[in-house]
Symmetry: D2
Subunit: 340 residues, 4 copies
């Protein structure tokens, strides 16, 4: 990777995509390319004030727009796509979260309906202060206000699914997608199994901050500047998305009910522990029992997502994918300060 | 609470109990009493070496023995029992974890059976080193070994259920019980709704260490020295167990599927935010969406348990239960060093 | 069984019980005894008109009263209790069904709460006409009325649970209980595993009619005259309740989520097919795949219940439990006409 | 509909499709057209003897081939497509059912994995006897054999999904698809919401017989001759598939866990009762509680499917969709005897 490609892509509204699979690649890039991107928010930019309520402001066909897809040269089914998030910087001075009728974790939803009325709608606009790196919450029924640390993350990172499928960008699954985990933050490397030639990778759904579970269904949603490096490992494609940071290994399962998402993430991690430490599945199961962290990602999307997370510091060093994460970190450092 | 009662109770084998509700109180104590207790491990002490496999060594009628129940004077249905864990100290130099046929999160189980064969059995004995405060894991199919920090906790803290029920100590529910969360550690105060006169509180199931989810169904199980202070708040009994530490507020829901446990914990926390900050339920829902942590407790018990957790430092100070946790911490400090 | 015991028991209000396990036997009876019983409705008789709404009329501690428990002489853990329902006759000229806040299958419920408001309450009183054997439904928001065939059944038949537990009569589980299946009707024999000495069998929760699923949580609830014969098979206690009629074999699983109840009922039936036809579990699985009927029982109780049902006429004759059902049918016939 | 179009379409292997959405229409037909079709079995015809085991014989990319899609002229999003099944006749003298590793209702599956080994594989070939209209089951581990009545049905009937999605033909959802209900038989009319222009309707997955639940994941799978009439109702597209026979109304929900599929089917039926009888949702909820039948469709596919079913004879006559089903039945009768 002596010569790095650097690519900037800021999609126009017409270039935004709304699916994993099914959209033509916006460009072809080589493994090792540094992508400098911009992502629109999950509302398609249609929520700009407290008066914009979801049921009237949103275009339900155009939710969660993605930047991409990118055709990764040489990527073939069964390979591993690595996406290293170098930097995530809020691209607006505010983000928004909305209570949307019959959407969210504490309301009935169309696929599990009740006869109850929907919750009232409310839209919350959080100002983002780059200086303090905080977002501001203001209650609407009382005068409570509080500033919260910003924690920029991407709700959605994914590749085209297999089995000829095209899925909306609202879905998390084994191809990644709308996993909505606060772990998808700058400094993390996401490993995804390639399902179709070229991988057809895209990302979006910036959150300036999100709690685990994404209870009401929408985080502090905002447009984002994204710097990422894509890389390719031949073969070794994981069954479920994996995530690595300097300190942790993570696997992300998605499904319903929530315990099935958990099981998928756990078995994936047991496989990873086997790869890294030569443990058989029973020993890995036992070890995982004592060291697993399980920060839930979302309980609101079409599938729910659960993270199985291990603190690397508990275990002997064992570089995953031949040390690819560390290498990508070094490459990221070499980029110097990032300015949008 | 000028004069504190101090009580020591180390049950004989015959005094161990196996249910919440249905057992006679071992003693009556006043609110404010400091309890110095000993708890047997979840196996009833029957697993002592790698050769003791669960299917033959265990007495399935006598699992998860509890120390108690204690009759709390003045406790009436609807009240809040506060149990502050002052100290948890391993009472043996080893703990054990077992793969039990058709039990655990990554096997079929009797209430959700498949036609597949059970997993092989294995028993792992972890030595506990008090000096380094670590436990040692040794793989059985390869020569991998690692020492892990001990993190003593109680799997089970509960009161008698309502509706005339008696539940085994294997069950977590709204009365507490076998929640198996690593958050139940020294320094935490657990708030439980009183369901019957006297509350009939008991605890047990010491774990020297456990990961979130308790994947295989058994943590590093070990006998434990427990120092706890019990206290009583008249009325205000929560619908689901709450937990408070110096830094966090937590609510614990239990149920199946896992998302129902999560929902219960979330709605309980929304109620608590309302009590503390005067937020209406929609504002609390919105705020929780951005600040919630969700470390799963267990996905292996009769009910699954999920924790909704909030970092107090994100919010303005607002003492819960009139500052009871801080008061119990001060009382705990006044006890001086604890020696078993 | 030359000499049959015949026992009549009509409980006073004070003699009603509300749990499986935990209540003293109302009498001891020998296997083969004919019981002539009366059961109060699930409301404890507190709903008598459209103006009695559940939230104010009901005593939530005294729901679903049971008639019993009966101590069956000679019954030991592991045995099979057979309860043959000879006759079910409505004991009132009306039954009632209520929409209860936060209870039922199409509303959020306390163990899986949302932030939505409850549904409005409504109480429906169905007159029962013994001549036409019909019940009358009258809509409340329009003038629609229809008469429906009565189909008397018992929501609740059960024995004391094991593991020292006491469960409310609202719960269905492996001990039977509140399974709420329309299959529990006159002519059926229910087989239950005995968990404690004496079995401690009771029944109640008469429904003059119920659809599968019991959608809103309450059927056409009414007091019932019940004639039943109890009998005992030594050993051979099934893991889950079984039901036999002249035409069908059934197994009833209870749990959450609903697929787990289904799995339990299916594996139980695979075991039964093995007992009757010598099929190994894979052949029985295959055969069941092509002949299984799955009429859901309830999706509203603490556990959901699913029935796996097989039409005997599809298979060669193979008397279950040595032809006990046919024998009980003959005994029932010998009783002549039943008059309450 | 004085002049009827009649179309015959027998796909070549290359014309088979494997998705809902994403495939080009094989032809355009007008509402009212009689389609005479042939469908390949779900294995793509690759299982022909007991020696063909799934793990080696199948092409996992080419499962569940569909005949279609057909572009229905005039069909627009929001419309209702009616598919009346005139006749289903087995097109081979045998069908096959297979135990496939990690697939089925009583094994762990990839999206909810355990660490257990897979079940052994077995392939069962059922001969189909047109004279007796039966299929023959032969056990493999013992000498048990039995002939079962054939009950030809289609596992899969569907249209293109909305939201730009393409789904494999293995999935049941709100667009229909792989619902696998034994109710999808000759004489039934299926109503589906149109999601894209032209509807893009296809069908396949013939079963010579299937039990409710499709326990092991595969019915008696076989190629089928299908005669169907397609028709169009402008607007009024249902949220979930509906089914009508001379005697019953049905709604089919699909999702996970199974209770969510049930809820969807129930709320859909409540809406239908409202349309037909002017009942408000609470009255319809109450009435449904007493008359609902719930024969489970499948507990093995990517989504589970549940049927809510009502016997028309319990209610006053109220022709759905202006009597379309009866009209299609008359048209079907006018076709005379069907010969393939």
């Amino acid at each position: 990777m002596v010569v790095m490609d650097q690519v900037t892509f800021i999609p126009t509204v017409d270039q935004l995509t709304y699916t994993f699979g099914g959209a033509a690649a916006v460009m072809r890039v080589r493994p090792g390319t540094v992508l400098s991107l911009w992502t629109e928010d999950a509302y398609g930019g249609r929520i700009t004030s407290r008066d914009d309520v979801a049921s009237t402001a949103l275009n339900t066909e155009d939710l969660n727009p993605q930047t991409g897809p990118f055709w990764i040269e040489g990527a073939e089914p069964g390979d591993t796509l690595a996406v290293h998030l170098v930097d995530l910087t809020p691209a607006r001075t505010w983000g928004a979260s909305t209570l949307i009728p019959f959407f969210g974790g504490l309301t009935s939803i169309p696929v599990s309906p009740t006869l109850q009325d929907p919750l009232p709608e409310r839209t919350y606009v959080y100002d983002y202060d780059a200086g303090t790196h905080t977002v501001g919450f203001d209650a609407q029924a009382s005068d409570f206000s509080v500033r919260l640390p910003a924690n920029p993350m991407l709700g959605t990172v994914g590749v085209a699914p297999g089995r000829r499928e095209v899925r909306t960008s609202l879905v998390p699954s084994d191809f990644g997608g709308n996993m909505d985990t606060p772990e998808m933050t700058a400094g993390a490397t996401c490993y995804l199994r390639v399902n179709v030639e070229g991988a057809l990778f895209s990302l979006g759904d910036g959150h300036y901050r999100q709690g685990e579970g994404e209870s009401c269904g929408t985080a502090v949603e905002g447009a984002m500047h994204v710097t990422a490096i894509v890389d390719l490992v031949k073969g070794r494609g994981p069954a479920w998305p994996r995530l690595e940071t300097d300190t942790h290994l993570m696997c992300i399962g998605s499904g319903r009910p929530l315990e099935e998402a958990w099981r998928a993430s756990q078995v994936e991690m047991i496989g990873w522990l086997g790869e890294l430490y030569g443990l058989d599945r029973l020993d890995a199961y036992q070890l995982l029992t004592q060291i697993s962290q399980v920060p839930i990602a979302n309980v609101v999307d079409t599938n729910y997502s659960a993270v199985t997370k291990i603190d690397k510091r508990l275990l002997p060093p064992a570089p995953a994918y031949d040390g690819l994460h560390a290498e990508l970190r070094r490459t990221a450092s070499s980029l110097g300060s990032i300015d949008y």
